[in-house]
Symmetry: D2
Subunit: 342 residues, 4 copies
């Protein structure tokens, strides 16, 4: 790390920093410029709280050199991680389509959607049984009954089930049904939940927080990896900016960046990312072109009666058209769409 001293730092302040660094086992190098003194330190960062160093008198700032995540980085594991979901493999050359309604609303709604997206080319079914909602007065999901319906849909279609865990207390129960456990944006830094689901060993789809930096997102993944669970799928779902025309700003540069920084697979969610049905198709294409390993898409047979996220849900026939376009895009990139075996 690099410790930059204030312009007017006194000699004893500089010495105090050096003494502390050396005391923690760091090899120190002092560099005196005309205006600033800079102290370089090589050693095991985990032996010292960087923040506390920054609190020492005369210190202007501390610049860390190494990335704060380890297990999630390409330096630790250069080759791509492929997450195994039953017989499916996400993170290899094949692109996965994870489709379904925002929330499980009824048996009919879910089964109809599941069969339709299965038919059109999805490999996994999304659908929330437990819904975290901004307002306590909004529909909160069917709960356990939703899980049962998801299980039935899987049985009928063979689609893997992706569903959200919002609550430690329910994690185990959700995991009995889910093939992939989703951690929503609002819970990206709910560390107790990350550790709890990490321990379950199941694949986890980790949505990026609404205002999380790429680094914080990878550190959230690190919480799961540190539980010895490497089955983590990252999901870019839009960040919060000043723009209000779209619900969020889908950050596709983050998709490309994370593919370079980390070995973990990344999928994108253009439904939440834009909040508008008419933008889902172009952004789905763009996400694949940016390097996404899959797409999370909200499909509803009847969006105008959806209990949540209607305006960003596409209909099954629109999903079919999208599958065709995305497949063509994948071919150009030397990839292909993953398929469920019949």
């Amino acid at each position: 790390m690099i410790v930059v001293m204030h312009g007017g730092a006194r000699e004893e302040e500089i010495e105090a920093v050096i003494k502390r660094l050396e005391g923690a086992g760091f090899k120190v190098h002092l560099s005196r410029g005309v205006v600033r003194t800079v102290i370089g330190a090589i050693g095991d960062k985990s032996r010292l709280e960087l923040q506390s160093l920054e609190a020492m008198p005369g210190v202007e700032k501390v610049v860390p050199i190494l990335k704060p995540y380890k297990l999630a980085g390409r330096e630790f594991k250069p080759e791509d991680t492929v997450v195994q979901v039953g017989k499916l493999r996400l993170g290899g050359p094949e692109i996965h389509l994870i489709a379904g309604p925002c929330a499980v609303e009824s048996r009919e709604q879910l089964l109809e959607t599941a069969h339709a997206v299965r038919e059109a080319g999805a490999t996994m079914l999304r659908g929330g049984a437990f819904k975290p909602r901004t307002s306590p007065y909004s529909f909160q999901g069917l709960g356990r009954r939703g899980l049962e319906i998801l299980a039935e849909a899987r049985e009928q279609t063979g689609l893997a089930v992706v569903t959200e865990v919002t609550d430690q207390a329910m994690a185990r129960e959700v995991a009995e049904v889910a093939d992939v456990l989703q951690i929503g944006s609002r819970n990206m830094q709910n560390f107790a939940l990350l550790q709890a689901v990490g321990k379950l060993g199941k694949p986890i789809l980790l949505k990026r927080g609404l205002s999380a930096t790429i680094e914080e997102w990878l550190l959230a993944a690190e919480y799961i990896l540190a539980e010895d669970n490497f089955n983590v799928i990252l999901c870019e779902r839009g960040i919060r900016t000043f723009e209000t025309y779209t619900r969020n700003t889908l950050d596709l540069s983050a998709v490309a960046a994370v593919k370079q920084l980390s070995h973990l697979p990344v999928v994108a969610d253009p439904s939440h990312g834009t909040g508008k049905r008419a933008l889902v198709l172009p952004l789905a294409r763009a996400a694949v072109a940016a390097g996404a390993d899959g797409l999370l898409l909200e499909v509803h047979p009847n969006p105008e009666n959806a209990l949540s996220d209607g305006p960003q849900s596409i209909k099954p026939e629109q999903f079919s058209a999208l599958v065709g376009e995305v497949a063509a895009m994948a071919r150009v990139l030397g990839r292909s769409l993953a398929r469920l075996q019949a």
Copy 2:
């Protein structure tokens, strides 16, 4: 609510919206402009998902007229809520200083700080036993041992204890020690946790999420109020913006705005809000001038050895000086600092 139709909306699309609104019991008024048709609807919004309306063909947008929170609003309860913490009353004319270290690090550190801030004029002691940290490799708090130390500090000083709950599973245990349960920024929309702590009936200090709008913050409070627990203290602690010189951007207009929109008391945290010791004093003064009912301040006897938040922690003697300045400021505003009875 107001439903704005697209410029080219067809007659049958307009009729479908009207039919649906009337079917849900709304009284409807149609207004045809040259370019747009607008449908006004009066009725019980809870009988219809607004989002689903926005998903209907021909609809451009739905503009809600009423605020989405109820119990948290001044329209529901015009007079200020005063939260009772033991014998202390927060939300009335007296301003409270809640001070202490970011984390409980040791018995010595906490007791020394507690006595110092008690002496200087604080009424409550802050200190985390469970610390949510961005990196899994950072100090995570002393856990249960931290709670014991907090309890001892209260016994010795009479200060009320404010400490964070990060985990539903631990909520009851933390509540046995805490006088005020803190919900941190990252958990502002951890709805399961909000409901769990709401049910405990204890005063709750609800920090604003890093990128939460004022409306979302009040809706998070609404989750607690809806559990019939009105002992909610809101805490502005800085939002995330593009600025990197400060750790966060302390949003003091939100303090003033929330005092107008809601009856709940509001405190401000200039330590997290700025991330820099040298900015704590001016922003503490400014928060009080903006109307805050209290301040949350990080005080550490030895910030350069703090295990977290050293750069933004002030020393006990700086806290004493701050108390004097804030007291003078309070007087000008016709308020005073709350005091513990000897």
Copy 3:
């Protein structure tokens, strides 16, 4: 427009608003809900400042129904605008590649780059003669000499020249050389400059401001259109968010959204949009997949000696590879790359 009155608005306040609206020639409709009174008004908005209405006693907010831009919208002109640049047509099915260095640094640098990008498939050459730089101590461009070099490059290669105007005083002089006048992000709301270049009648490439909403961007275009100059090419170049890993956040949903809201062509700049060479290719593909009509790309023969934007500049050979990938992407979308005639 819709005027929403405060919950406690008095009868005479409601009447004052109605009187004022009727006085300005609006047809008014009153809707009294249980909690709020809402006043709908149909008429010519330009006869009344909406803001002043919002300042009337008892008014909570004014919700405009119509979009504030006219000429830039699809409602005014449903069919795509094709901007003619010499013999080139931008905005039709063909996708244009506008490539070159950030700044003209020398005759050799520019000519080498121009020939290389011409060879590889660009139709237009970008390069700044006047550079707006954050610091007064950074390289500010070659000025007039830069314009001469650009003119020579066009003569040798046939590429159309796109270069920035930063200064009203220089607008005419730049326009003598430029085929397309670029307005940079920092000047998107320099209205005096917009009007000045609008009057020149030349095609204008209007970069989105760093924190401009889509609506503000289209209103900036409206300033040019209102000068009766419809040759406007919009350019998405990344917005400012909290993310620091990338220089900006390239907002590709804005590309797709603007294609729907406006008839104007849109290009994307993945070089500024990401700030990192390794992200340029994936985001270039993604921008085309999202519907961009062209790409603005920084190409430098020797980025490590570039006087500006080296880290985001690609080399000519990387540009060639990019052209191939983008061409393949275009074909899938039923489009093709524009070509200069030999």
Copy 4:
């Protein structure tokens, strides 16, 4: 500066960086950690474009050590700059109130306001003759006629005149009337304008850009200082964030931070900063408590008929009340309100 090499940087890449740094006259120090090699360089940064270094193969990032502004920093000039405006001194212990309407709308409106704010305690009169407006269809100011009215108001009241220059071509003409030239937010990085007004030698009030970092703001000031004009007053007027309840987010931590980083005086504009009349008073108090040297306030005799910014304008009688509160606040801080001599 510090050059951080990629984990896998090759020996010849490291050597190339060293050779380049030494060639530019830097003293270089190499530090090889286990994972990263870091190169420290001491020398004259202006001899090398940092960005180009970052473009060299094997380089991960370049970390500058020194602040990029010089003349604007406390290291260059430790003592506070006091800007002389006629007989008034802004930047010393006295706090100035700069009040008036957003725009000059008529002789009557301006004179009435000028007399009222003079009476109540303002020392300077604000009012725009040239208004930069988001929409070309909004009121754009009275232009030259507005300047005449401002001059008359000064003559009658003795108030110094603060008015905006939006256009290089008009700069000299505006300067003939203005005592302080205002550069608006949208023009903060209109460098041609900054240089043009800098050369005029008059005091300049430089508003912070909507999404400008503190560093960029000080670099914009640097453009003026570099013209040998040190009469710069910085003005914090709110930044753009995701919050929509307030028009902008008034960043009072920036006020306190800039007072520490720079010697230039800073004023705050709670009218634009909040966009809501009811928030102006608490934020005005807060700005002074945070250390502002003055306040810019929109006052209009009749906000509901204002041609711009009505909702955030206060009435003369509200201004009077505000003056009293701010004066009391100033006293607590050991300051006082500046007064015009009778």
